[in-house]
């Protein structure tokens, strides 16, 4: 389980330290890819397997499906940690997420998200009012799903 927000520096080589609390839960086979709302997402191997399995391009794969898989896999990369526990964010990933010299590393239960520092501030620094409204709307949706 990944919890909390950590602000870490991204150096000139694109290296980003993953918080030690997260790293101990990330065995080899961890994958990073482009995610929703312009963040990057880090999938532990088990989570990634859920995404990956059952997806395979063949000559009978439908056009829509081909595009989906190309975008999904073409934008992903396996995480490799150096001896200091850092990963290298590719130039493409950095520009997608608008990440410069700093990033927010956020634990979101089953996976980790990496955000542009500023973009995360707008989300993470929500006021109690905003938070309440969002919670209410989600609760409303869940009720209608149950029906």
């Amino acid at each position: 389980m990944f919890l909390g927000t950590y602000r870490h520096a991204v150096d000139a080589k694109g290296r980003l330290a993953i918080p030690a609390r997260f790293r101990e839960q990330l065995p080899a086979g961890t994958v990073i890819s482009k995610g929703a709302e312009g963040c990057l997402q880090v999938y532990p191997p088990k989570e990634w397997a859920r995404v990956k399995d059952r997806m395979r391009i063949t000559s009978t794969t439908a056009a829509e499906e081909r595009k989906l898989q190309r975008m999904l896999f073409g934008s992903a990369r396996e995480c490799e940690f150096d001896a200091q526990g850092r990963i290298v964010l590719s130039a493409d990933h950095r520009s997608y997420a608008g990440i410069g010299a700093a990033a927010a590393v956020v634990g979101v239960n089953n996976l980790i998200e990496i955000w542009n520092d500023e973009a995360w501030r707008r989300i993470g620094d929500a006021t109690p009012d905003e938070y309440t409204r969002i919670q209410d709307r989600v609760a409303e949706r869940e009720r209608s799903n149950d029906r």
Copy 2:
């Protein structure tokens, strides 16, 4: 598993370096052929065997499928790596994929695709909005798998 996008040069002799991360996973018997949407596809031996075994011309083969098989097998070629880890793209393959001095080499889970640089940009350089949709569809599929 093949992941990520790499932009590499294609020199005057039609040589293209395959990213080292991909090359390690490509034993002898790897095959390159024409793929959908004007890309080239590189099949590792196991994937190629899967294709080969499933397709076979018989008296009951539909006309359309015969055509598909002729194209797929007729334009296929075994990959040969030089000492620098490059393959030579045939003139036919280059013109099919519209590849000039640069190409994008993309890992798509079970196989590798080679694209005209520009054509790939239209797929891979999608906006966060498009990736958000992709993610929604992946999540949707997971839910249906769980049922």
